[in-house]
Each structure stands twice: as structure tokens, then as C-alpha cells.
Symmetry: C3
Subunit: 149 residues, 3 copies
């Protein structure tokens, strides 16, 4: 299967998603917001980059339902990177969020999704999610960059 | 070191890789399939995005050899995200694959590789791999998006 | 918020960052090197892909300070993927770096950052880091691919 295009109409579109979060661990569905940026871009074939502008949050993909979003993903994060460990970051900065930074470094801030036929090319059960990892409520900005033709 | 180009010949090429998998945990080498899409694209300098269209599989890079593919990566996944835990996803949906979803959310579905001189720009021991994380055999589609000039 | 452009001036720029590392686990700040590639590219709006050319290192984002870089991230890697386990890779190849490969497969080699107004579009506390995971000092190449207009 192939779909090919010349450079006739390459374009790009930058958008910001703003979020007020409730602190750790909050998994938020961004799919509709990213889809809106794709629609606004006029791009039919290309990509959408989703990038969270902070070192204590992350972007990934999951089936967005309460079992995973409110129980399983938070519990895995606490199991792998427990809040109560002795963190060097905490000893130096006293923000209480050493675990948040380590979790974010493992999950990473970026995700790139293909765009086809003017839409995010996702599987049926795939939603793009923002994961708040900080230990307090935050105002967040997620940068979206859509490009293609 | 620099290589620069104008917009003379920007092009893009979309392809699908289809896989029949045997269920958890199967690590499959996709490098040849992605390389084929790069060759078909005619792109000399650019990027290749590899994106699995499901929330219970992932894409990453490893040295593809049986020690890592059949033992070490599967064992790490089971050690970090054990199958036998009480998953909220399982209590709600009874698919038996709560652990599969959590593993996929941590490994993520996307990977972007540079293209140089018409080829995937990978290190000697780097292969692009698909990781089946679901608890049963599945038919999978991996979207490849090559672009550049 | 939207910023849109036609295809008038799409361009790309490839650069290599060379590193001599001291072996596991070394977290190195690449932000200035990647920023230099962005400046050299002349790109105002676009993206920068950062890709490490090896299967025993990774790229991610963190606040680069000694607590996280020298203590917390290394300790999390050792806790989740202990060096002393029985690795299939080790039984076959005797390189002593089975754990390095598994760590790299989980952290992944790629990162994509938006470029806006000619600069890496990062949050205040976000630095792009290279993570050496191999068990000995290495000469490393990190490929940077900047594109946009």
C-alpha cells in the first residue's frame, strides 16, 4: 500500500493545549484536542507531534478507561518509582517531587502520530493521553505540531 | 557536519506492515519491512515514523538476537508489570490483558528513525522491533510514514 | 493559538554529536549541542529529532541536575533492571551488558522536540539528555535531524 506526494502543499500548524491538573497521578485524554489541531491544520497526510512542556509530566497512548487511567497506570508508576524512596533531587531541592521527575524521564514528553486522510491515524482503542506526575496541581501547556500536505 | 536542502523535492510515503502474532510476548524484527518502505519512498534525507495501531503492542529498538528478544525483554516486562496482579482494567472488561495495556503505555507505540543517503540511519546493532504484548495471537497493522527529499 | 505556513521554505539539516562516555550510567546534557544544530539549520518553525546510534544508550528529557542525573535516574535503572540478573544475552555473547540492552530498549533511542521562533521549544526545566547504559566507556554518535521552514 502506498500513498505518495510531491512538495506541492507542505504546511505546518502549531497549537497549544492548556490544562489545569489536580496533581499526581492524573491521566487526561488529549485525543479530541489534538484532533482539533489536525483539523485546523488542513493537513491530509503527515504527522502530529505532541510534546508536554514540563519535566514532571509525560505523553503516551493507552485505552482511556478508568481501570487503566485511574488504577493500573498510577499503581505501576508507584510500584516502579515509589514516592517514599530517598531521592537525590529531594535532598537538594525539597520540592517533594523527585519521584515525579524520574517517572517523567522514563515515560518521556513526546509522541508522534501519523495523519492520514486528514485524521489522526490511531487504532480503535488508542487514545493520546497526558500524564500529570507532579505532586501538586499544575497549569500545563502541551505543544502540538501538525505538518504535512 | 551539515547537510542541507531546500524544499525542492519534499515527498512522503505511507505504508502498512501486517503481522500475525502468536501472543505474549513476541518481539519481531521490522527493520527489513521499514527499509523497504524507505526504498519505495525515494527519500534520500528525512525520517521514518513507525507506529503500531494498537494499545497492546509497542515499537522500540534493540539488538535482535534470541537472548534479548526471547528471554531478557520478556522477563523484564513480566518482572515490572506482572500478569498476576489485580488490574482495574481486568475487573471491568475481563479481557485478561490489563498487564498488556500497562506495558504498552510504558513502551509507547511510536518510533522515529532518521533517513540518510536513502537508508535508515541505524547503528550496527540496532534493529527496529515490534513487541506483541497482548495475551492472545493478533492480526496487527504497523503504519510507516517516510518523508523527506 | 495557531501559526501556519506554506511550503515556501521547507529545509532540513543533519548534524552529528560525538561523545566520549565513561560507561554506566552517565547522563549527559545535549541541549546546547542540539540547539547549535537548530541555529545552524536556519529553521524557524519545525522539529528536531535526536537519535542515538546505539542499542546500549538512550535519549530522554529531564531536569539536568546532579540529584536526578547522578543518583535518581541511575538508581531507578539499577532497581528496575538489575545488573546481576541472569541475562540470556550475557549467556550467549559474554559482553557483560545484557542489562544495558534491556534498559536501552525501554528508554528508547529517539526524541522529537518542536522548534518555534528558531529555538528548541522546551519547558524551563527540560533538558535533552543522552544516557550511557553500556558497561564500559564508549565513543558515541548522536544523530540530529532538524527540519522545517
Amino acid at each position: 500500500m502506498g500513498l505518495r506526494g510531491g512538495a506541492s502543499g507542505m504546511r505546518q500548524h502549531a497549537a497549544d493545549i492548556r490544562l489545569s491538573t489536580g496533581g499526581e497521578i492524573e491521566v487526561r485524554d488529549l485525543t479530541a484536542d489534538v484532533a482539533k489541531a489536525v483539523a485546523a491544520s488542513g493537513v491530509r497526510t503527515g504527522q502530529a507531534l505532541v510534546f508536554t512542556m514540563s519535566s514532571t509530566s509525560a505523553i503516551t497512548v493507552t485505552e482511556f478507561e478508568p481501570g487503566l487511567a485511574e488504577e493500573d497506570i498510577p499503581q505501576a508508576l508507584e510500584r516502579l518509582f515509589p514516592k517514599g524512596l530517598d531521592y537525590g533531587h529531594e535532598r537538594r531541592w525539597r520540592d517533594g517531587n523527585g519521584h515525579s521527575h524520574v517517572r517523567a524521564a522514563f515515560l518521556k514528553p513526546d509522541l508522534t502520530v501519523p495523519v492520514r486522510e486528514g485524521k489522526l491515524h490511531l487504532g480503535t482503542w488508542q487514545q493520546i493521553v497526558f500524564v500529570e506526575l507532579d505532586n501538586k496541581p499544575r497549569q500545563r501547556t502541551v505543544a502540538v505540531h501538525v505538518w504535512g500536505e
